[in-house]
Symmetry: C2
Subunit: 239 residues, 2 copies
DNA sequence: GCAAAAGTGTTCCGACTACACCCATGC
DNA sequence: GCATGGGTGTAGTCGGAACACTTTTGC
């Protein structure tokens, strides 16, 4: 066909990039997993953990593969974020811009800091970065991260994702602080937040209390996935 | 590097596929734009309007390009839906499955039927299909369509997208019927739906009335984008 | 005792539900 | 008249916002 010669198709390599969030409960900081690049392009820049998709491999398989090389964590659920593919987003594309194109499908997940063990291979750096201290990243990864951060804020309001990043046992103060860290101050009064969540009935009190510095000791709670079942797929707001 | 030879990267062609919805206000039916394929694979199957991305072309450019060949419409806003890329989703991939892979980035839009003129090129078929009568489509396009339908339901509840598919002037009955068509019966009482929408203040009564068969004539309304501005980006439910 | 953080309770108010009811037209 | 769809009003109820207040700890 004439169109085939007049308008040649672009050839792509496809990458997957993961935006993995966690939370430092001690300091109430939102964290993101970054990798130090050890080869060109962007050598010695931090970037999101990603890889190029191999023959016979699905996009998700690739995303899980690279993650399993970087952290040990169970029950990680990746959700597709967005696909970036405009020409010129990767310097490896030939300057003429008519060579191979690089496309990135991004994925998103939350993990509890305590349940994720970073795999130090002694070669490449790997770290949890506080979201406000993220430097200029390789490629357009700052943009991807921003997109993921946006999604995180939305998810937090509508789904019980908070319990994916909190440790097994947590206080209602921890939970509240997490919301503050992600959504910003003033999204809700603490006491109202408290009663609303408790009324829903899927937070189980353990009876154990912890004291952290001054103030009355707080009860430790546990997320009861079974009790949450009834809310599954129902629209609800957690603010 | 060793990994490069042991795990060769997949080579991709990247396609864009559009899920374009509209509504038949007369018969309260949700419509989707389909194209009849005139070449292999899947010759004589209906499919979503899509194309493969050309050299130097961004994903969105490709999506807009193929649409402009099929329909004339102004102010069309495409939103990225999802990316499908597992091996084997396109029969053009070599049977060995180690040849070129085909990936599809899908986009989503709503258009008013009256504002969209189908471009009949005399060769390929093009049609608005009622969503319940969509046949087996080419490739995995039924799955993509399903995903788009899902997104549509969500959007309708939270954004004023309904006014993108309705004609310039519409009755509150039309609006209600649209919601019924998309969300199913029983999402809300008509009179409550009515008062809630009107209270928001971005529906302007024109004074004109229309009579359609029996019953009291209905007022025609117009969506006032300016008055809606204040709600922009605020979370709100339109049920 | 006092500050700090956890936890409880109360009041006010707006929004949504579920109806009942009136209005204007075609036939 | 009467069926049909458009349009208005109201009473009851639920839930969130704001805020005052009590409890238990460290120092």
């Amino acid at each position: 066909m004439a169109s085939k010669t007049r308008y040649p198709l672009a050839d792509f390599k496809v990458g997957v990039d993961n935006v993995i969030f966690s939370v430092d409960t001690e300091q109430n900081r939102l964290l993101v997993l970054l990798i130090m690049r050890d080869s060109e392009p962007y050598r010695d820049y931090w970037c999101l953990p990603g890889t190029l998709v191999r023959q016979g491999e699905s996009l998700e398989d690739g995303a899980y593969r690279i993650l399993s090389e970087k952290i040990r964590v169970k029950n990680l659920y990746l959700e597709q974020l967005y696909t970036f593919g405009e020409p010129g987003r990767d310097p490896r594309e030939a300057p003429s811009s008519y060579g191979v194109r690089y496309l990135s499908v991004s994925y998103f997940a939350l993990v509890a800091l305590s349940a994720a063990e970073l795999i130090a291979d002694g070669v490449s750096g790997i770290a949890w970065y506080p979201i406000e201290q993220v430097p200029k990243l390789a490629f357009d990864h700052n943009r991807i991260l921003e997109y993921g951060h946006h999604r995180l804020r939305n998810k937090l309001e509508y789904s019980p994702v908070a319990f994916d990043v909190l440790p097994e046992l947590f206080t209602l103060g921890d939970l509240y602080q997490l919301y503050v860290a992600v959504l910003g101050e003033g999204f809700s009064d603490y006491s109202n937040f408290r009663s609303r969540l408790l009324k829903l009935g899927f937070l189980k009190e353990t009876g154990v209390k912890v004291s952290r510095g001054a103030g009355r000791p707080a009860s430790l709670y546990r997320f009861d996935a079974e009790a949450f079942e009834q809310f599954k797929d129902k629209p609800m707001v957690f603010i």
